[in-house]
């Protein structure tokens, strides 16, 4: 199902104070971006339990984004993003071992003032995932079970 007719489903866990705010600004300012990201607002990326990422992929997401405030000093709760940069590399390693391409998972920092950066990320990441094709984790598992 590659190609122009595949619309990636991307889940984005965005921290309320930074990236969600940037996304909001990007939307209000009518910045060009595809509508493929389903945004889930969290108060801090430190709230993003690795299980959220795994569940998103297991339930049908083709790509996942986790984005929040820049370390070291921007986190609204001081050090929530420290937890994020300790956890996410290990989540990356786990996903890789599962066979989920690393291009399907993006984590990083976008501050509230960086709305254009958010719009660019959405454009680039959507295309990146579109090229990879659908992940369809559960359905693939069932169909290949024979």
């Amino acid at each position: 199902m590659n190609g122009a007719d595949f619309e990636p489903r991307i889940v984005g866990f965005l921290c309320n104070w930074c990236t969600y705010s940037a996304a909001d600004t990007a939307g209000v300012s009518r910045m060009e971006q595809p509508a493929n990201v389903d945004i889930i607002r969290v108060m801090c990326t430190g709230r993003v339990d690795p299980v959220f990422v795994l569940k998103a992929f297991a339930e049908g997401a083709d790509g996942v984004i986790v984005s929040g405030c820049h370390p070291p000093g921007d986190c609204h709760y001081n050090s929530g993003n420290y937890k994020t940069f300790r956890r996410m590399p290990l989540v990356e390693a786990l996903l890789q071992q599962y066979g989920i391409e690393e291009e399907r998972f993006h984590w990083g920092w976008i501050s509230g003032a960086e709305a254009p950066k958010w719009a660019q990320l959405v454009r680039d990441f959507t295309e990146q995932v579109r090229e990879l094709g659908p992940l369809n984790w559960k359905r693939e598992l069932e169909s290949k079970e024979d």
């Binding site: 339990d49 940069f85 693939e140």
Partner: protein, 323 residues
């Protein structure tokens, strides 16, 4: 209950090692009490009842079936369905039936790669004609069948409706006896519960080591350091699954300074044991920059094997991607 008031009991093993049967034997003299209270109507390990005896039973004939072993082949699955039909209460007994256990690590591979290794490339196999298992083979006298080997190991709960789960590899004898008593006394919790283990605690609660705040600057594999027997192993940088594992075993492994590997299954209210453990491990890394954090967590070898040692089939993603 049978005419003589005894509980009608069945025990079966699917893709298992027999350890859960030995765990029943570990009841020691209490096995005589079990024998007095129950009529065992099916137990291939210890008694001579055949599959056709089970097939001939009326539906729901057995009061309780303790089913251990993971679902690896079509025969395992057929027996799961048959024993569900012939029992009133079906218990997923032991880690294999509960969450896949060690045979579940085969979900890192597929049928083709497993067959190639086992039957063609293994150093101790001699197979010059390169025979691979086939579900049906014509011998001179007639046809011989073997079950179909699935690509993916499943838990009992993934193929059948399970009433209770007894975790552990193996379940510990005192816990087994507690389950037997609960069954005989008729006081079991709601359907779907995990029994024979703590309802609300993790292994850390049973562990005797002293826990302090964790600041892990380096992860050590168990053979790389000699741990201090008094301090928490995790504090010392040894990855221990205790924080993500349900209590019930008495923290046997940590009592000999070996880290827990999670055989009692996910802690209560945890959706995915491996993700919970990964989160615990990464959260206590003592790093204030992204580079340091990345460097320290890169020391974790074999993430799936470490975090999902016993629970890969039960995990959210179930297995690695199939080609």
């Amino acid at each position: 209950m049978a005419q003589n008031g005894k509980l009608k009991l069945g025990l079966y093993w699917a893709a298992s090692c027999g350890g859960c049967e030995i765990a029943i034997v570990e009841l020691r003299e209490k096995i005589l009490d079990l024998d007095a209270a129950a009529d065992i109507l099916f137990w291939p390990c210890a008694m001579d009842f055949k599959y056709k005896d089970v097939e001939a039973m009326p539906d729901g004939h057995m009061d309780v079936v303790l089913f251990n072993g993971a679902i690896r082949t079509s025969e395992n699955e057929e027996m799961a369905h048959l024993l569900r039909k012939k029992s009133k209460v079906l218990v997923a007994f032991g880690s294999c039936a509960h969450e896949g256990c060690i045979p579940g690590l085969a979900n890192l591979f597929d049928r083709k790669s497993i067959f190639e290794r086992v039957y063609l490339t293994s150093q101790s196999v001699e197979n010059p004609n390169k025979y691979l298992p086939q579900t049906s083979y014509q011998m001179p006298e007639g046809e011989i069948d073997i079950p179909y080997f699935y690509n993916t190991v499943k838990t009992l709960g993934q193929v059948e409706d399970v009433d209770y789960f007894v975790p552990g590899c193996p379940p510990q004898a005192p816990q087994i006896w507690a389950v037997v008593e609960a069954i005989l006394g008729g006081n079991l919790p709601p359907k779907g519960s995990v029994v024979g283990a703590s309802p609300d605690k993790t292994v850390c609660d049973e562990c005797k080591h002293n826990r302090e705040e964790k600041h892990v600057k380096k992860f050590y594999r168990p053979h790389e350091i000699i741990p201090d027997s008094n301090r928490c192993l995790f504090d010392q940088g040894i990855i221990c699954a205790g924080p993500a594992t349900r209590a019930g075993c008495g923290a046997l492994c940590t009592s000999v300074d070996m880290p827990c590997r999670g055989c009692y299954g996910p802690a209560p209210n945890v959706l995915d044991q491996g993700a919970a453990l990964l989160s615990a491990v990464a959260s206590v890394v003592d790093a204030d920059t992204e580079e340091d954090a990345a460097r320290i967590v890169a020391e974790v070898v074999d993430p799936i094997g470490t975090f999902y040692r016993f629970g890969l089939p039960a995990s959210l993603l179930h297995r690695t991607k199939l080609e």
